[in-house]
Each structure stands twice: as C-alpha cells, then as structure tokens.
Amino acid sequence: MSELEQFRAETRAWLEANCPQSMRTPARGFEDIYNGGRKPEIDHPDQKVWCDRMAERGWTVPTWPKEYGGGGLNKEEAKVLAQEMARISARRPLDSFGISMLGPALLQFGSEEQKKEHLPPIARGEIRWCQGYSEPNAGSDLASLATRAEDQGDHYLINGQKVWTSYADKADWIFCLVRTDSSGSKHEGISFVLFDMDQPGVTVKPIKLISGSSPFCETFFDDAKALKKNLIGEEGKGWTIAKYLLTHEREMISGFGTMSRESLGQRAAKIVGADASGRLANGVLRQNIAQYQLDAMVFGYTMARIGDEAKAGQGLGPASSIFKYYGTELNKRRNELNLAVQGEVALGWDGDVYDGGQLSRDWLRSKGNSIEGGTTEVQLNIIAKRVLGLPDA
C-alpha cells in the first residue's frame, strides 16, 4: 500500500470513529458552520466537539505547518482528507476569516513570534477575527483610508471609522488597515495592525441591508489601543498585505457565481411550461436562460483552465483578473433569472410559505457581490490598465 493509501485508510477510520453523526449532514448555509471565538454561537453541542477533535490533529487547517496548530499535510494528503470528509458528508469543523484570510497573510508576512501567538488560537477556534478595511470615504478607492494610528511608544492609539466590517459584532480581534503617515502618496503610510475588539475604545453597530439583516457592521475607534508588537510587516508598508488579501477575497467572492447545482432551464420548463418537444414554452425566457447557462458553463471551464495552467507551472495568467468581475456578474444574472422563473414565489419576504423570503433575499444580496471586494468598475479599470496596458486618464 502506498503511503498515500495508508494515509487514506487511517483518515477514513479516524473520521468514522470521531465525526459525530449530527455533523455528517451537509451544511445548508454559512450559518451551519461553526465559527468559534470567545463568544461562540453554538446551534448544536456536537459542533464544538467536532471542532475540538479536528483541531487536536491540526485538521481545521490541514495544510498549515504543525508548529502553528496546523496538520502539516501536503496537497495530496489534504485532498485525501477532503475526499474522505466528503465521503461521509462531514461538515467543515470550523470556518472563519482567521482561517481564510488572516492566517494566509500571517504565514506570508508575519514574524515568527506573531505566527506563534496568533495562528494556534485561530486553528483551535478560540479567537474569531474580522477585517477592518473599507471606510465611509474609502470604498472603491480603499487606499485613501483615513483611520489614524498615532505612535505612543509601545502602542498605537487608533481613531476613525470602518464600515462593512463583516461579523464585527461577533469577532474577538480585528486585522485592520490604518494610516500611520499621511505625508506621502496615499498607498504609502498605510499599516496593517491587529488588536483586541474587547476594549472601551471600540464600538460596533450592525448594518441592515435591502435584503434584511446582514453580517456587516459599522465599527468606530475612539482611542482604541493596538500594541506595536502586533504590527504586521513594516510600518507604512501595509498596502502590500492589503493587496494580497484583496486578491484572496476576490477569489472567494468570484466562487459565488458557480454555486448553483440545478439547471435553471430545466426548473423553468417545469414551472413555466414546455411545448411538445420539451422546449421551454416562453422563447424569450428560454434564450435568456440558455445564454446564462452557456456563460456559467464556460466560466467554470475557465476557472479550471487557470487552475490547471498554474499547476503546470504556466503561472497565474492575466485571465485570473476576470474572476471577480465575471463571477459576480454571473451570479447577479442567475438571481435575476431565478426571480423571473419562480415568479410570485420569489417575491415573498417573510413567512413559511415563502421560506422566509429566501429567494428575494438571495436576489437582493447578490447585488452586493459586484460592489464588495472591489466593484465591477474597479475590476474593469484594473484589467484595462494592468492587463491591456491602456494609459491612465
């Protein structure tokens, strides 16, 4: 038996013995995934059990190095673990911005001491993180952010406001972009700092969206304190880390466009009706859906191609810049078509008959996909300038 097959056999046996039955059903949405933290939301006691057991093996973050609480698995082993988890429909034991965003940034840019201090609590689900990026006057133009950090010797005093801070009301710590210097160009003088949210100088206010309640918050800093040892990278060089994380975030959001499992066209044929040959009876709707499904399919192959090219050592080509733009626009198209197909049912807002307004809320929420993490227009600017080499205005 090869080493990998040995690993598979052991993993399978361990999962069988340790994954609670209640965690062997696919998550219905983000809310079914455990997020950890000092004030965790626990829907089912097994969530914590499952997370603790996996964390003990480092499998909440399978590919992180062992010394930082990870599993130290290589890519093949991590793939086997994912396959074996999928085999029994095991849920991910833990998901958080610490795992998906801060962790990769710390592994890349953090000092040894910072990694040792912050990564293991992320892996164990003890500390939940949020991201302090956008501000009321720094959205698409993120680099013009104005939250000030004043040097006080061993710490910074932070004053200003962040907005669209997802789960700030539930997070324990924040990774935050602040301005430590405003004398140079706007991209210089930005620093990347970490600090505890549980202090008098931090106030959090949830934001209600057109789709209803949301994870987003406004976050206010009034003489909040950040220790200098929690400055990541050099002072004034935080933009590099910010860009790295934005790329990461854009890849995550672009994935939204491919979440649909069911063919919209087939569903439409049932709801709207089909002619004798099985064609969707409304020709206009049929064409719109066919165009969407064609683009969705081809976008899927494009993501696969870029992945394969990267694996073959041909590098992440310029095509990756289209992911965020195209994926989110596709998701908006899908939601609009879904509304058109479902009709009255999709216009409900509340109550069991409308499944709590899930369809209309999803539709409304999708409008934000092409705004958050860099608008469609900003993505097009980036492609025009960096890929096509067109000059600035």
Partner: protein, 375 residues
C-alpha cells in the same frame, strides 16, 4: 484531462504561427482577392502545409495520417484564424476527412484518407440547401438505378467548390429514413458547379445535380445510415470553426488595443478614455472564456466524450457571440479608418460572419445547446 497545452502542442502552435504570418497572412489574402482568381488560396502554400503534415494531423496512422488528434488541428486552425489564411484545411481535412473516417467502409478509408493526407485529392462536403444550416431537412434525393445511384437536387455554400475534385453529397435515398452520403466527382455528367464569391474573399460554390449517375462504390458507408456520423462530423467541424474564430477574435482584439494605445484625439491617447477601457476589458474577459470552451471541446473530441454535442454547440455559440462582438468593436474602435478597405480590420469582420454562419450560427447552436440541456 487538464485544460493546458503540452510542450509538443505549444511547439506546433508556434510553428504554425510563424509559417502563416510569413506565407498566408492578410496581405496575401488581399492580393488573391485583387487578382480576381477563381481559386482563392495559394496552391503552393497549401502544398507546403501538406508537407508539414497539417493535412494528416487528425487522420489515424492506419490511413496515412499522424494520429495526433483534433486538439493539434484546432491549434493550427486558431493560427489560421489569426492570419485569415485560406486553404482547403477546413473543407478537405477538418470536414471531409472526418466524415470519411467516421462513416466510410474500411476500403473507402484506405482509398481516400491517404489521398487527403497527401494533398492529392481535395474533397468538400455538399450539405446546405437553403439560406440556413438545417441538416434535418434535405430535399436532395438519390434513387437506385442498376448497380448505382442517380442524384438530383441543389446545394449551396460548398466550401472551396471551384478547386474540389470530389464532393461528399448528402441526400435522401428513396426507401431510407436517414440521410446517405455519396462521393461525386467534380466532373460527373449532370453536375454543375457554380463558383460563388463570398464576402470573406473565399470561394464557395453552388452545386446543381441533374440526374447525376454514380456507381455503387460512391455510397459512403451504409445506405440511410449517415445520420450519427454526420452529426459527429458537424460537431467536430463546428469546434474547428470555433478554434478559427478564437484566433480571429483575439487578433482583431489585439490590433484594436494597439490602436487604442496610439490614436490621439482631444489631445489624448483614446485608450485613456474609460468608456473605451471598460468595453475593451469586458471583451478581454469574453475572449478568455472563449479560449476555455474551445480547448475543452477540442479535448472532448480526442477523448471520445459523451457530451460532445453539447460542448460543440456551446463552443460554436460562444465563439459566434464573441467573434461578432470582437469584430464589431474592432471596426467601431478603429473609427473612420476601420471603414476603409486599406485597413486590414475589415477582412476580420468579413471572415467572421462566414465562419459563424457555416454549419450553424449563434441562433442555431444556442437553441441546440438549450435543447440538449433539457429545456
């Protein structure tokens, strides 16, 4: 299969690009057009293509080919699209050799495929009858007479008809439910070949079959049984045309971006205007999508994938859409100069529309894509 090119494929692509840029690019196309010649490709250049093995790429080794597959042929066709290089590579190799290979008897394959691979016999498919591609509705008939058959009907858009020596005529044989294919020599009695000049400066032809008698051996494969082979051939042909349209669209786009980087108006490089930048960026994204579906569909041919019909219609529909947009934007963004014959960009929009139409346009293939998708 991973959606990447291997080293051998990259070499083939690069050598095709170099050859075509020198020997069969837009200036040569313009010269051929202006010469008024009935043959709209350079026979000497075609001979060189054959010597380089391009006609044998996708023909199995057992029949004198290289057995290298359609992905390789598609890469050459993409370069053909970039340079608008005209030759019988599509009519004789992509379409006719494929149909013979898919449909012919062992003896027919032994007889014809090596001749195509060696560039000795030029075949062309005679399928379309009306204004649109509609392979389900055929009016051309065949009836048995003596040992052989007699054909009657008419065909249009027979590619490279003036130079073809053999036509693969699709007809309904009396007593059969499905279509049959007959190999008809260009000099057969009762056959009239009318050369028609098309907007892309290539020659197509109309065929009139007036009691054309052929022998028993002219029937390709079995009587009334050409349907599946014809469908597969058309899927392959459409994927090949999609590869050509990809090269054409990328070239038109790159020329347009280069123009945006140099043309000045209002004291500024026009490429600095956001109204043009965003249109160019959107088109770039569409071209990246187009590249993915073309590669996926080419690989599906070589892998014998079950969903080839869906992928073929996806590839052709997507490339029709993208080529139309890329060629229209190319003319618009070139402005007045783009409307002149002197500017080469006009050749791209002209070739795009003929390639789009051939074997089914956007409307045909999006409809088929939906139907195969179950709605």
């Amino acid at each position: 299969m991973a959606l990447v090119l291997n080293e051998e494929q990259i070499m083939l692509k690069d050598s095709a690009a170099g050859f075509l840029a020198e020997k069969a690019a837009v200036p040569q196309l313009r010269a051929l057009r202006d010469s008024g010649s009935e043959t709209t490709f350079d026979a000497a250049v075609w001979r060189e293509m054959v010597e380089m093995g391009w006609a044998s790429i996708a023909i199995p080794e057992a029949f004198g080919g290289l057995g290298y597959g359609y992905t390789g042929l598609g890469l050459v066709l993409e370069q053909v699209g970039r340079h608008l290089s005209n030759s019988p590579l599509e009519s004789a190799v992509l379409v006719s050799a494929t149909l013979i290979n898919e449909l012919g008897s062992e003896a027919q394959k032994q007889q014809w495929l090596p001749a195509i691979a060696a560039g000795e016999t030029q075949f062309s498919l005679a399928l379309q009858e009306g204004a649109h591609h509609n392979p389900q509705q055929l009016a051309t008939t065949a009836r048995r007479e003596g040992e052989g058959y007699v054909l009657n009907g008419s065909k249009v858009l027979v590619l490279d008809a003036p130079s073809a020596q053999q036509f693969l005529v699709v007809a309904m044989l009396e007593g059969s439910e499905g279509p049959s294919v007959f190999a008809v020599p260009a000099d057969a009695a009762g056959l009239t070949v009318e050369s028609r000049a098309m907007v892309d400066s290539r020659a197509a032809g109309a065929l009139m079959l007036d009691n054309v008698s052929v022998g028993a051996d002219a029937l390709v494969g079995e009587a009334g049984a050409a349907g599946p082979a014809l469908e597969r051939t058309l899927d392959i042909a459409n994927i090949g045309l999609a590869a050509e349209l990809l090269g054409l669209s990328v070239e038109a786009f790159e020329r347009t971006v280069a123009y945006l980087q140099e043309r000045k108006q209002f004291g500024r490089i026009i490429g600095s205007f956001q109204g043009l930048q965003h249109r160019a960026a959107e088109l770039f994204a569409e071209l990246e999508l187009a590249r993915s579906i073309v590669l996926k569909a080419l690989q599906a041919i070589d892998e014998g994938a079950d969903n080839l019909p869906l992928l073929a219609s996806a590839a052709k529909a997507k490339l029709c859409e993208v080529a139309q947009r890329a060629s229209n934007e190319a003319v618009q963004m070139h402005g007045g100069i783009g409307m002149t014959d002197e500017c080469e960009i006009g050749f791209f929009i002209k070739r795009a529309r003929v390639a789009q139409h051939t074997f089914g346009d956007y409307n045909y293939h999006l409809d088929r894509f939906a139907q195969l998708g179950g709605f």
